[in-house]
């Protein structure tokens, strides 16, 4: 075989190292808050609560960032799936009132687990329809995606109003998940503990799926050149549908938890979260799962710290956080190498 002299070629280039600085930012922020807050127990309460809130938001945001990162689809109708999940929680918990009111924690968890599964399932199923009817024709066209998914959201919200009415539908969370665990003067709401567990499970699952399996690669490749992936012998349509369904399902899961947290659901519950979730995924780097995780934790912590230290500013804490992060890293904490734009 014909060889070109390769003696002088540079050594194989190392893969990019994992970037720890955003995590350091997170830790630094928490440490900085400690002296400002003064009391260690207050600090711990706020920090734990903030992290848990961050994880709930992460679950909701993960679906959106997943769909954007893999499929390049910006789903402004994401909130609809959150609302769906929350409404499913009302239905399921109402029909499982035996389990809900049982003093046995495992029965409570069973009820919540069922609600989560149903919420994910229904949101996923509606996501399937959403993808087929609305999103499919506008792959690759950002502006149209924005418009169409918003249209879908309006229609969905109105349909929810038809089904459930416009007023607040209350959810009663199970006995065992109310109240707080006390460690000395530090309080951690039980429900937040559950949310933390679920959130971490989602994170680990997603990271494994995306980075350790071929599936993630395939979908990313499919966004860039769909024909080529098909020419390599893969059925990309199924993968895309699967991704969208998964994204919607995650929103549904987040919605169940959010509804339980809020203890009540309105059709607008998802739409009200839109800006928050967008901020989280922008901070994270649009499309990066781990980025949205760190972004969500930051948002959770900053909200609690400013809420405690300077409640007046809490209103703008998210925006300020976004601006600061973007000044530091204009493409978010974990920028996703992006095709064209």
């Amino acid at each position: 075989m014909n060889t070109v002299s390769t003696a002088a070629t540079p050594a194989a280039l190392p893969r990019e190292r994992f970037d720890f600085s955003p995590l350091a930012l997170l830790a630094g922020l928490a440490l900085l808050a400690l002296p400002l807050i003064g009391s260690a127990s207050s600090w711990a309460t706020l920090t734990l609560a903030g992290l848990a809130m961050g994880l709930i938001v992460f679950i909701m945001a993960s679906g959106l960032t997943l769909v954007f990162g893999l499929m390049d689809v910006l789903n402004f109708g994401h909130g609809l799936f959150i609302a769906l999940g929350a409404f499913m929680a009302t239905t399921v918990l109402a029909s499982l009132s035996g389990l809900v009111h049982s003093p046995d924690l495992s029965a409570n968890l069973l009820a919540v687990g069922t609600a989560c599964l149903v919420g994910m399932g229904v949101a996923g199923a509606v996501g399937l329809a959403f993808e087929r009817v609305l999103v499919r024709p506008v792959y690759g066209l950002h502006l149209k995606q924005i418009l169409i998914t918003m249209g879908g959201m309006i229609v969905g919200e109105e349909l929810l109003k038809m089904q459930y009415g416009a007023q607040l539908v209350p959810i009663t969370p199970p006995e065992g998940l109310r109240g707080a665990l006390l460690f000395g003067d530090v309080a951690l709401e039980r429900f937040r503990l559950l949310a933390m567990v679920v959130g971490l499970a989602v994170l680990v699952g997603l990271l494994w799926l995306l980075n350790r399996t071929k599936l993630g690669l395939l979908i990313r490749a499919g966004v860039q050149d769909r024909e080529m992936v098909e020419s390599l012998g893969y059925r990309i349509r199924r993968l895309f549908i699967g991704t969208f369904v998964a994204g919607s399902g995650l929103a549904g899961l987040g919605g169940v938890l959010w509804g339980l947290y809020q203890q009540g659901v309105t059709p607008q519950i998802g739409a009200q979260l839109n800006v928050l979730i967008f901020i989280v995924i922008i901070i994270g780097g649009l499309g990066s799962t781990f980025g949205s995780f760190v972004g969500a934790l930051l948002v959770g912590l900053v909200a609690n710290y400013t809420g405690f230290l300077a409640p007046k500013l809490a209103l703008f804490s998210n925006i300020a956080l976004m601006v600061v992060v973007l000044l530091w890293r204009p493409e978010g904490l974990y920028p996703v190498a992006r095709r064209a734009g």
């Binding site: 950002h142 349909l159 493409e331």
Partner: protein
Amino acid sequence: MLKTLLSHDLPRSRVLAALVVITVLGLLATPFLFPGTKPMNVAAKALVFIVLVASYDLLLGYTGIVSFAHTLFFGIGAYGVAIASHRMGPGWDAVLLGAGAALLASLLLSLVIGLASLRVKAIFFAMITLAVASAFLTLASQLSEFTGGEDGLNFKVPELLRPATVFLDEPWFGVDVDGRLLSYYGLCAAVTVLVLLMLRIVNSPFGRVLQAIRENAFRAEAIGYRTVVYRTLSNVLAALFATLAGVLLALWLRYVGPETAMSFEIMLDILLIVVIGGMGTIYGAVIGSVLFVLAQNYLQDLMRLAQGPLADVPVLGAMTSPDRWLLWLGVLFILSVYHFPTGIVGKLRAPPVSPRSPPPEGAAAGLGRPGAGRTRRS
């Protein structure tokens, strides 16, 4: 003469020309053709939206920038007049000062937004503006000292424009000749001037560069256009026109509130009108606004008429209830995005397809390029 007024950008389609003429005449004759408060209010809203939407099209259709902060400038204009009139008392000095201050504020703000964030990727810009707009909306309801908070501001306009000012004792062709009528025709005149001005800008050498940047910013840079300068300028111009639209709105409504001038819903309406009318054409803004505002105001009435026979059918009855008009607006929204990929004007103007040259790859793909810094060579 007409050509110069229209900056040589003629409708280029008989049907479109007819539509434009009908629209203009219809708006001009509304007080006489459809007497009553509601038709005049609807027509006035359509007029304000023409300016607002056309100014947004300057950004979206011509420059390819997706911004969600456009209502911010609309709101600044409206609040400018409202706050000035409220604090200084009604009068032309208050109107002028309010409008001037609002223009200045918009100029500075759009300059900052443009310079600070037009360098980031298009989709980032869109989402950042969304967050900024929501922050300002909150701010407007927080600063209740100035803005009246959630409740907004009610204020009085100069004497001349008030309904109580009557010019002729007798109605003229069945219409009261009062301050309201004067306001309406003042609005018509202002809108005409602003629209013609924007038509001129998009047909100037500058406007052509904006389109080039939208098409291929990388190439525009490589032939010597500093895209940041052009993008920022286009951002500023769009903001100023939106501010003027806000001024007009405030003068007509004599009320301003956060929901009325700055809400995300209005942003959505603007986006939709641009798409329905056709991006990248000022005529699209004119026709789209009128159609949309009509639909928005009369859809409920129409549904009330249509519901009669369906009222008792279980699901359909609920779906066609006039209270669910938003549902159908949403459906219309979706359908129009699908079926008018190039908008009404695009559809009417579409040139006959020449047999040999292949169609531009995804002519509708124009929508798919939200502009800023999209293409980068490998």
